[in-house]
């Protein structure tokens, strides 16, 4: 149940991101200077994701007794691949063992689909220098990138970037919020 909620939340998050993404275009007076990146979730991708969840219910997989998930394997709430966030301890860049099943599942998917691309978005809690926090978030994204490389993903499939402290998921000024923001999100290019 938690995983389904998580997937739904993720869908909502991606949807929200892509909405702001449309507004994100920086206004200036250069013609053609406002190209919109297509690297992360577009509105179309979000729509597909949402209807994918609905289609799952409509196929009635329980009737044939297989219990197998019929949609995009990355959306299978029963698979560790549906886990998209890797959390870090304070001042740490070590990927904890509890994320091994999820990262193995992501790597297996990337190995099976070589045209698939992933952006690893690192984040940091909000204390201190913005640029230093950007580097900290990068260090975390880089740790996840290296783990996926070891598991068979290729360099061309992966891009580690950082949002530093700029896009906190939890904006509160508390230890719990800081912990939530010490995080790397795994985002597929076609989602």
């Amino acid at each position: 149940m938690n995983k389904i909620l998580g997937a739904l939340l993720l869908a909502l998050t991606v949807s929200a991101c892509s909405t702001t993404g449309k507004q994100a275009t920086v206004e200036d007076r250069t013609s053609g200077g406002t190209t919109q990146s297509a690297t992360t979730g577009t509105a179309a991708g979000t729509g597909a994701e949402t209807s994918g969840l609905g289609a799952d219910g409509a196929t009635g997989s329980a009737l044939d007794g297989s219990g197998k998930y019929a949609g995009d394997p990355r959306k299978d709430p029963a698979s560790p691949i549906s886990k998209r966030s890797v959390y870090f301890d304070f001042d740490s860049f070590v990927v904890k063992d509890e994320y091994s099943p999820a990262l193995e599942a992501h790597a297996a998917y990337l190995v099976s689909k070589r045209d698939s691309r992933v952006i690893l978005q690192g984040n940091a809690d909000e204390r201190g220098s913005r640029e230093y926090n950007l580097a900290l978030g990068q260090k975390r994204a880089e740790a996840v990138r290296k783990a996926l490389m070891v598991l068979g993903a290729t360099d061309a499939q992966l891009e580690a970037v950082s949002f530093g402290e700029e896009k906190p998921r939890d904006e509160a000024d508390s230890e719990a919020a800081y912990a939530e923001n010490r995080r790397v999100d795994v985002v597929y290019g076609d989602e």
Binding site: R29, S37, L136, F163, G164, E166
Partner: protein
């Protein structure tokens, strides 16, 4: 009055005669003794009908007060001089003034104004400066800042920085605006709007361009934008993150931090994006580079020693040397225009404050008394430091004099400001 002040949140000057809705609440706080301040009698200027507000003398006075280098005689009951060539400097001298400023505004044809002022040496009873400007209403504040610059330079021997500009990022909800304002925080103009974060703006040495980092493409990319026509281009958009841009003094190259070779490392790149050269090597974080004024040295933040500290390195590369040793968190270095000082943010007991580091002897001094300071930047004349801090849960901009004794808050009320840079 300032001479005896010990800890006085003193002036809410700009609010007093403010007809504009976008007026700032400027606070100037004087901390500690007031040694060696120059005593000025700043007399009210004769006013013209329908002149802009606030008065020229008030803008000039705010500028000079923010510097922390002057004290002011009470001139509030004094009528404007009927003839600014006949002012009794001796009478002000007897009340302790070392300098007297008199002035006058007269309406002239075409809706313009003639602004005249004279700066007198009250001791020698001679004129130190006298200028006349014929201006449009839109040049009102600029003219006042120029007058403040002249007074400052004549009385201190150092050029003023009141006519310079600052850049900063304003956040409102999920909207980000990169703004350029006058050095007193007034007259803000938006040069970039985005729904994604903007950080690390920096003026080019000639003041004609800004470099900054934008997240509009879902990752940090370095842009250079002309302030003349708003045109811009990507200066660094490599795989991974691109950030922490700093201008070389020649204005033709940038130091940037890229992660294309995995760890955050410092590179040099031409402003047009060509000629990429890697400067630091290793698996640690190297970021926040800044050039010395002669372009020979780079200062930067690195965690190579286990905690973030300030390092120095030849701008051509080579072995870095650690400069900061107090505390476990020193970040965001910036160099004074004469190359003598670094300002950076140091953490002590959970508080992030502005530190001043004398490069000749390594001595450091805490300049501020707040807890969430970020992003220090020297005035173009090196006499004060602009920084961001948090007050009441909101980002505000402040300046502090090099002795740490005079602090001013610049921000407009009700906005969240951060990432300031003080330009030419």
């Amino acid at each position: 009055m300032l001479r005896t002040a010990l800890f006085l949140p003193l002036f809410f000057l700009a609010l007093l005669s403010a007809p504009f809705s976008a007026r700032a609440a400027m606070e100037i706080e004087v901390v500690g003794g007031a040694a060696n301040k120059i005593a000025i009698a700043l007399l009210p200027f004769g006013a013209a009908p329908n002149q802009p507000a606030p008065a020229i003398a008030q803008i000039v006075g705010d500028d000079l007060k923010r510097s922390g280098q002057f004290s002011f005689l009470d001139t509030s009951g004094t009528p404007p001089a009927a003839d600014i060539t006949r002012v009794n400097a001796g009478a002000w001298r007897s009340q302790g003034a070392e300098a007297v400023v008199v002035g006058q505004v007269v309406a002239v044809s075409g809706g313009r104004f003639e602004v005249k002022f004279r700066l007198l040496d009250a001791v020698k009873q001679t004129q130190l400066a006298g200028f006349s400007y014929t201006i449009a209403a839109g040049q009102w504040r600029t003219t006042a800042h120029q007058i403040a610059d002249i007074i400052y330079e004549k009385l201190t021997g150092t050029r003023g920085a009141f006519s310079s500009r600052i850049a900063y990022v304003q956040k409102q909800g999920k909207r980000y605006e990169l703004k350029v304002a006058d050095a007193d925080g007034q007259n803000p103009r938006t040069v970039v709007r985005s729904g994604e974060p903007l950080i690390s703006p920096a003026f080019s040495p000639d003041g004609g361009s800004l470099v900054y980092v934008s997240f509009e493409d879902k990752k940090p990319i370095v842009y250079v934008q002309s302030l003349r026509d708003g045109g811009r281009r990507k200066a660094a958009a490599f795989k991974g993150s691109n950030s922490a841009p700093a201008w070389a003094p020649d204005g033709r190259r940038l130091a940037v931090v890229l992660t294309r070779d995995q760890a955050s490392q410092i590179y040099l790149i031409n402003v047009d994006g060509s000629g990429l050269t890697r400067l630091t090597r290793g698996g640690n974080i190297d970021t926040e580079p800044v050039f010395s004024p002669d372009g020979q040295t780079l200062y930067f933040t690195s965690d190579r020693g286990g905690s973030p500290q300030i390092y120095r390195m030849a701008a051509s590369g080579g072995e870095p040397r650690r400069l900061s040793f107090n505390g476990s968190y020193n970040v965001s270095p910036t160099v004074s225009p004469d190359g003598r000082y670094l300002a950076y943010i140091g953490r002590d007991g959970g508080r992030f404050r502005v530190m001043l580091h004398d490069l000749a002897n390594g001595q450091t001094r805490v300049l501020t008394d707040s807890a969430r300071d970020e992003s220090p930047s020297f005035a173009p004349n090196g006499q004060s430091v602009l920084y961001a801090t948090v007050q009441g849960g909101r980002g505000v901009l402040g300046t502090v004099s090099l002795d740490g004794k005079t602090r001013a808050r610049l921000s407009e009320s009700g906005i969240d400001a951060r990432e300031p840079d003080w330009g030419p």
